[in-house]
Amino acid sequence: MLNDFLILMKPELTVTVILFLLLFIKIGKGMKNETLLPLIQVLLLLNFLLGFFFNKQGVLFEGLYTSTSMIVFQKNILNLGVYLISLLCADWLRKTPHLPEFFMLMLSALLGMFFMISSGNLLMFYLSLELATIPVAAMANFDLEKKISSEAAMKMILSSAFSSGILLFGISLLYGATGTISFAELPAQLDGSPLQIMAFVFLFTAFAFKLSIVPFHLWTADVYEGSPIAVTSFLSVISKGSIAFIFISTLYKVFQPMEAIWYNMIVVLAIATMVIGNLFALRQQNIKRFLAFSSIAQVGFILVAISSNSPAGLSAVVYFVLIYVFSNLAAFGVASVISEKTGRENIDEYKGLYKTNPFLTWVLALALFSLAGVPPTAGFFGKLFLLTAGATKADYWFVTVAALNMIISLYYYLRITRAMFMDKNDQPIEKLRPDPSARLALLICTAGIILTGLLSWVYDYIVKLN
């Protein structure tokens, strides 16, 4: 029994151990940031590597907590993302006066996401969702003296509190209509009565808030722009990824009997999300805001795969999120290096970057190509599998709209690439020397962007887990 408990909950337990270690360091003598940051990076690397060993499948606490090899793999993706963020934003992290607190908040949010992915019960799901969002709102306020940071945190906490209110109202109606809150018992009770449909709409709305699906996306761009880049990358990659995982497993496992209802909702919202995300991304000048709208558009593509309601959809989404971790973190990493050293975040100021910083330019260009889905990069294969999964329903016009949106997105991704390589600039960004750990992380991301697509066993492995 105890063995089961220790091995099944290993990802959560390792994160908790690191969390407590940081707490003891904080309340004890304290450490200088220069020594603490490498320690944290090594711990996170160990945490990531440990995720590959001693994995077991099983259920704990009468269905409250489940673990399958797919869930373990999803947790490993999230671990990888957190490790990369700790490397990429080293410059900013070293300067922040509250380094242990920052990682305590980040790891407790990560812990919440782990429990959320594993949850087998609406109560567990709600609790872990809150654990995954409340610390992030506190993290968004980490540039304490900046006005926009506190504004971003305010928008984040208010919209997340409101959306969790909606989620809870939905859960309460669902409980009233079915009498159970366990994921295993719910599908048998769902018969599509009006009360259940209303409850489902509330639940769906809450998910849409957290995933920033149009028309519930308005908080996203503001929060992304105002927060420190470390938090923005955490929000856009780790948070989005974990919510996408639990969203897809809730739809496929729990709300399977209501498929006829949610299929139409997803089609409409996917088209709205892609179109509006793309159109707003076209006119952005701030790089963080631009990446925010691009991530909204990417969620639209994820929805296309989710609509397929097949195992192929799940594996396509997991594969895409893995690629998304590499490509989006590479883009945010370059933006973080430039913003931390020079304070510039405008796309116009990136003109002529190639002359002074060829390495950063190539990494950013590759990342943008991958986000746009240009062939040699992994992003192409990610998008390909997403759209193929979406096409299994034979709604070809829907997939065509998605493909057309990829073309629009190509325009604005290439706009930045052109600015960096071809445009002239009188005062280009001077030559920057990224921190060695940031350089390492950028190299890892680049390798990931290229290799995840070219090595076919990655996708095969994900399909096999399913």
Binding site: L123, E130, I148, S150
Partner: protein, 103 residues
């Protein structure tokens, strides 16, 4: 008259929409937070009513209520900390004054 399930559900739905209305119309951050608390309390009422009248044998609703109350407190704590910080930088807790991030 003994209040039944319908009366309780009516009150909770009314509370929910009053909360939503307040959240959308009020411009003071503390009041907006209070509106969210109204929404959460309507949920609690819903859970209790369903538990008492429809599913008396299952305790899920009661447990859920206890957890919702606890989480609401945690959320309010973080939100008020953020609002205090916002007040320090903006000298006001009116959402209209927090207007640097747009479009």
């Amino acid at each position: 008259m003994e209040p039944g399930l319908y009366q309780l559900l009516f009150i909770s739905a009314a509370l929910f929409f009053i909360g939503v209305y307040g959240f959308f119309t009020r411009r003071n951050l503390i009041t907006m937070l209070m509106s969210v608390e109204l929404v959460l309390n309507s949920v609690n009422l819903n859970f209790i009513a369903f538990n008492k009248y429809l599913w008396p044998g299952r305790m899920d609703g009661l447990f859920f209520t206890i957890f919702v109350i606890a989480i609401a407190a945690a959320e309010a704590a973080v939100a008020i900390a953020i609002i205090i910080n916002l007040y320090r930088s903006h000298q006001s807790i009116d959402v209209e004054n927090a207007e640097e991030l747009k479009y």
